[in-house]
Amino acid sequence: MIIRGGIVYDPANGIFGEEIDLCIDRGRIVEDAKGEEIDAHDLLVMAGGVDAHSHIAGAKVNAGRIMRPDDARLGMEQATAVCRPSTGYTVPNCYAIGYRYAHLGYTTAFEAATPILESRHTHEELEEIPIIDKGALTLFGSNWEVMQCVRENDLKKLAAYVAWGLRASKGYGVKIVNPGGGEAWGFGANVKGIYDPVPNFDVTPAEIMKSLAQVNESLRLPHSIHVHFNNLGKPGNYTTAIESLDLFKDIKPSRMRQVVHVAHMQFSAYGGTSWKDFKSEAPAIADYFNKNHFCTMDIGQILFGSATTMTADAPLEYGNAHLLHTKWSNHDIELEESSGVVPLVYLRKNPVNAIQWAIGMELALLTKDPWNVILTTDHPNGSPFVNYPEVVSLLMSKVKRQEELSNIHELASKRTTLTGIEREMDWCDIAIMTRAAPAKILGLEDKGHLGVGADADVAVYDLRPEEVDPSTQHDLVKKALAVAKYTIKGGVLASRDGEIMAAPVGRTFWVDASVAKEDEERMMEDLKEKFDRYYSIKLSNYMVQDAYVPNPVVIKAGALPVEEVAP
């Protein structure tokens, strides 16, 4: 297959809007190819989009679906010759997730949080998501065994557990959510600051985060730790964010990437002392990211309208449900985590929501290097991923931002600096924020770029970048990005003008890290005791079998040669 004449933006390879023919053979970008030709003359061409943080599969997504039959009604689409039926808007069914990502020109998405115990469910759903490649980050931040290793200051044992946990869950990376809080919640409490000991466990969130970061680097995992900070969603929490970030300053990365990725930064960039004097501290956060390069973030933009918040931060969801007086699901995951789901609607005239909206914009625009800040809506917490084109058109147009600011609560202009921000992103920034940077941050070498050897994931948009001025013609930008002209996934034309042409099966990435046998043996002794005494299931039934991941891409990691991997 050859894609002719497109205006290619491939910042990872230093290509900024050049007319290039792309050749594809056997699912890869190659030097030269024959066969079908796709005419992309003068059209915007980028690598397939990569979503590094999205809640697309697993028990809490399904809890959202069960709680929201009203949401299912919002996205009904009938089956076609290629497609199975779609439902839902904020919590779409599995099929719809694949089709809608393909319509956007996205070809990879990572589920942001799955406890080991629920991973089988997560993989069953991931397997049903067509077209896109995917992976899942495994939760470690409130795990009893993690906290025990940290308390004993035994990082080798912790490394053995993390490696085992990734294998048990067929997970891709280390996700930390409100460290310590998840299990404190099991006893009806929460942690307040990062130096507050977790009740009953005698470790602090700071120790948990730092130990996991060190272990993550000692195992040379492709992705860094991926953290949802303590005190998320509370006024004044930006100090917690900066305190937490400072923990990782001295840790050396084991690969060419960050040592910590901060999830949905928008929810952790709040100033003020209560909802009454709630304000933005995004400039302080952006300043930190401009001065330090060991950390990256995704913005977690909110957009006005319906959303379903879902997180392993169960105490946060308890607060949401009581504040908003709405339905709430709460879930305890034995020795690992807790989680919650709360549907909500972000309103333009609500001062808090308006400020939250502006904070996300500020973070993206004030952080100078787009490689350090990637685009997400923390689907479906801030907004469903189908609204990414709206976020892009806002980032590219000051005019559009001002229009929106005049429509929303006035405090968004007074309590944030958004009105004064002149920056308008260009296509290069957008290509980095939506493709190149997420792939680099996740450590996916064949994604997010169009160099020879890369996966043949290509998006062609019906927009002429040399003619359209995104600043004033933001509606054209939004329209073009919402429905890709062509989405090619692994060399197969998956979507054309909003119609699914083929639904190939995607692959699932997971990481197999090796550790020393003796560390693993020590760790297994701990685990056996935990399974005998506390878990409701047996250790032998715990690990996700290979059959649940029929199309795996196993990435080897670890400090030791692969042969020494314990069975």
């Binding site: 709680m67 929201r68 039959p69 009203d70 949401d71 299912a72």
Partner: protein, 256 residues
């Protein structure tokens, strides 16, 4: 005035989804076009004329000037008059689930019984049922926070459970008894119940419910004064206190 009559060609074993049967949609269609309207019977896509005999006046009219008469048993035909905005729809028999859902205006006369979800989330117009109605009359659909937003429903017989759940505005009158939990999670609107009922107004925050027969009360209602309306004495209650509600509940004293 244009009248169109539909008669089922057979007794349906599998439910038919016929949201197309509505004055708003038929008004601008010729009889030939009406006969080819798409309906689903189970998962089979069919034409209206495959299932119904369609007769009536040919000349087009406005929706207001259009009357649809359904003769026979329509108890397996769902979604009749969905979203209708004007005109008249008369059912000479029973009607299936979700009749008049999302209705905005016009009149629906049902000479027999109505099934569940009648007039769900309707915002205007009037539905009259001469006999009994099922559950969830004028309520919000599953998971929805807002039910009936306006309009009127009158039921000559009795109604099932969850009458007017999540109701926001409008009026429902039931001559007979109702099932459990009428007016649950109400945020407005008025419900009259001629007969007996069980646990009315659970989690109601606004709106009013009036019961002429016996009512088993929730403990979370506070007694207020006794009032006389149309010559009948009612005990007034305020609640639901579980939700800090300001809903008003009137229960006739002579029946208690």
């Amino acid at each position: 005035m244009r009248t169109i009559t539909l008669r089922p060609l057979r007794a349906f074993e599998v439910s038919v989804e016929a949201e197309t049967i509505s004055p708003s949609r038929f008004a601008s269609l010729t009889l030939g076009q009406i006969r080819t309207q798409e309906v689903f019977m189970g998962n089979w896509k069919m034409k209206l004329a495959d299932l119904f005999k369609v007769e009536g006046d040919e000349p087009l009219a406005t929706p207001e000037e259009t009357t649809i008469v359904l003769e026979g048993d329509f108890s397996k035909v769902k979604r009749i008059g969905e979203g209708m905005g004007a005109g008249t729809l008369e059912v000479r028999g029973n009607v299936g689930m979700r009749a008049g859902s999302g209705m905005k205006g016009g009149l629906m006369m049902i000479r027999g019984n109505a099934d569940d979800w009648l007039g769900r989330e309707m915002s205007g117009g009037k539905i009259v049922v001469e006999e009994n109605a099922g559950n969830y009359i004028g309520s919000g659909y599953r998971g929805e926070k807002y039910g009936m937003r306006g309009g009127e429903i009158e039921i000559g017989g009795s109604a099932g459970a969850y009458l007017g759940e999540h109701m926001c505005a409008g009026t429902i009158r039931v001559k007979g008894d109702t099932g459990d939990f009428p007016g649950a999670v109400n945020q407005g609107g008025t419900i009259f119940i001629g007969g007996d009922t069980y646990l009315p107004g659970a989690e109601m925050t606004k709106g009013s419910i009036m019961v002429r027969g016996k009512a088993t009360m929730l403990p979370s209602y506070q007694k207020a004064e006794v009032v006389t309306l149309e010559g009948i004495q009612y005990q007034k209650y305020v609640g639901d206190l579980v939700e800090n509600g300001k809903g008003e509940l009137y229960v006739a004293t002579n029946s208690a």
